[in-house]
Amino acid sequence: EIKIGATVSATGPASFLGDPEAKTLEMLVEEINAAGGVNGEQLKLVLYDDGGDPNKARTFATRLVEDDEVVAIIGGTTTGTTMSIIPVAEDSEVPFISLAGAIEIIDPVKHWVFKTPHTDRMACQKIFEDMKKRAITKIGVISGTDGFGASMHKQCVAVVGDYGIEIVADETYGPQDADMTPQLTNIKGAAGVQAVLNAGFGQGPSIVTRNYSQLAVGLPLYQSHGVASDGFIGLAGAKAAEGVRLPGTALLVAGILADGDPQKAVVTAYKTAYENKTGSAVSTFGGYAHDALHILVDAIGRAGSSEPAAIRDAIESTSGLVGTTGVVTMSAQDHLGLDLSAFRMLEIKDGGWTIVE
């Protein structure tokens, strides 16, 4: 039996992310065990819910390592929880695959730490690339004050200049706010603004989208990968969401992927299994957990051992692994193994996702 540890934020402010992650991990471990496990051994998942509290996450990480004696840890739904798990993983020399976005997690590279989601910097880059194509040079930014929004905001500000784009209005909202019309009114009124970017997750982006349509801003609206789930369209309302663009993963558009797409099989399988099992729509975040587990299982398989050090080395040499987020090829310098091509620029049309290009 191989014990794998996980601590995710299945409840709390990030449960929007953590809940599908937890469900995915449970589902996949069951699936893998049913198919005979890894190296002939069954997997055992020890899963804790840290509620989004970094302090709790650290305690659970300690528990996973010291008490449950797992061979690897998956988790850290948010950057905050991830950052507080890292010292534990590094200290006790256990590989750790994070499910959070910030680039700091893997840059600089830490020996025992990996992650599966694109960095938020990549999301910014993908969006700005698209804006550049549309000859947009002046934008307004609105972001949530939670970790996700703030971190993405920071990364976007850092790279926006590379694309010749200028931020002419910069606003924020609280994660639980009910109305963002004042902020959007200010952005709308900013001189020369040509498009608006919203970095955030949870209910905020839905409300931003609705308010955006209420105010008839009439400029292109970009959302982040933080809202990449089918639920978003329903929450924002198909009418308000019409024309919204965002960088998403193949998972969201499984149905309309070209047949030759390398990810098609993987995302379709995961989507079908997840939706059958839980009855709710897949989201990008569950996909992060999916990829993390598969990277881990692949590594254990290749290492032919369940020694943490061996697993770590094998993870680092992951190559060409097809996940929901993209095709992963890691190296000693790259503990993420994804590039921009993994992101697809999506646009909402007639209440559904379409791929731009």
Partner: protein, 290 residues
């Protein structure tokens, strides 16, 4: 000036949401001196139950009615099972019970329903109404109207009816209330039912705007609590005015100063008001001779 108008309308919308939550606090507070920290959960339940009943195919008004009735019943159960048995306990203990209850309700909701965000359609569509160059959604008008109606009803209840007075008497002096023949247990039951129902009604009205999920209650309860204190705890007028003011501060700060510190500014204003008026804007100054 359309900007200012837009800020005001936004403030009014959000303020009405806070006011509805704050109004829910008043009854239980007036009956027992307890700030019910599970009030936000009532709002959440109102929204969640409506969502699921609606998704199950019931017409929206029926779904809403069911949500309000079920939530009121949960309020009564909370009183009967948790607050009632702890009668005579210090107020802090009662507060911890209500915090425990809120955690419990949240936990059960997440089991019975799910952890996703939900929403049902606005009552009368999403086409914005234009006022002096600014816009407001029809649902916001529903929320504002709801807040005003609940306020008027509560105000009449506490000033014009003997039952309302019995509620006040129960919190003022439970012992004396029993001596004059008031069934204080019944008063408590009534208060919890009414408070929960008002909370659920708030949930029904605001969900199309704020969306709902199992953990939406905390944030709303906190803002509603702050609004109620700003206006003066226990006074329906205070709840209404406090809620609207809080919403306006936030919107105007977000509009003119900094959206990052809008909550902070709102709290600074509350602190300033309390500094000048330690009982809030309309709080009754209880006289106790020595």
């Amino acid at each position: 000036m359309p900007e200012l108008m837009q800020f005001l309308l936004s403030g009014l919308t959000v303020g009405a949401v806070y006011a509805l939550v704050a109004l829910g606090f008043t009854i239980i507070y007036n009956a027992s001196d307890v700030v019910n920290f599970a009030q936000g959960e009532f709002v959440m339940l109102g929204g969640m139950i409506t969502v699921f009943a609606f998704d199950a195919g019931l017409p929206l008004p029926l779904a809403a009615a069911i949500a309000i009735a079920v939530t009121a019943a949960i309020g009564v159960a909370l009183n009967k099972l948790a607050i009632g048995p702890a009668r005579g306990a210090p107020v802090v203990s009662l507060i911890i019970i209500t915090i425990g209850a809120s955690i419990f309700i949240r936990g059960v909701t997440q089991l019975v329903f799910d952890k996703q965000l939900h929403r049902f359609p606005a009552f009368t569509g999403d086409d914005p109404i234009h006022i002096l160059g600014a816009t407001i959604l029809p649902q916001s008008l529903w929320v504002i109207a709801g807040a005003v109606v609940v306020f008027v009803a509560l105000w009449l209840f506490f000033t014009r009816t003997l039952t309302g007075k019995a509620v006040l008497a129960t919190s003022n002096n439970r012992l004396a209330a029993q001596l004059v023949g008031i069934n204080t247990n019944w008063v408590m039951t009534l208060s919890f039912a009414l408070s929960a129902a008002i909370g659920a009604l708030a949930g029904v009205l605001v969900t199309p705007i704020t969306l709902t999920s199992y953990d939406l209650g905390i944030a709303l309860a906190l803002k509603g609590f702050a609004a109620a204190m700003l206006g003066g705890m226990g006074n329906p007028k205070g709840a209404l005015v406090g809620g609207i003011l809080l919403g306006l501060f936030e919107a105007l700060t977000a509009g003119f100063l900094s959206s990052q510190y809008k909550d902070a500014v709102a709290f600074v204003v509350i602190l300033a008001v309390l500094f000048a008026m330690p009982q809030g804007l309309f709080g009754r100054n209880s006289v106790n001779r020595v």
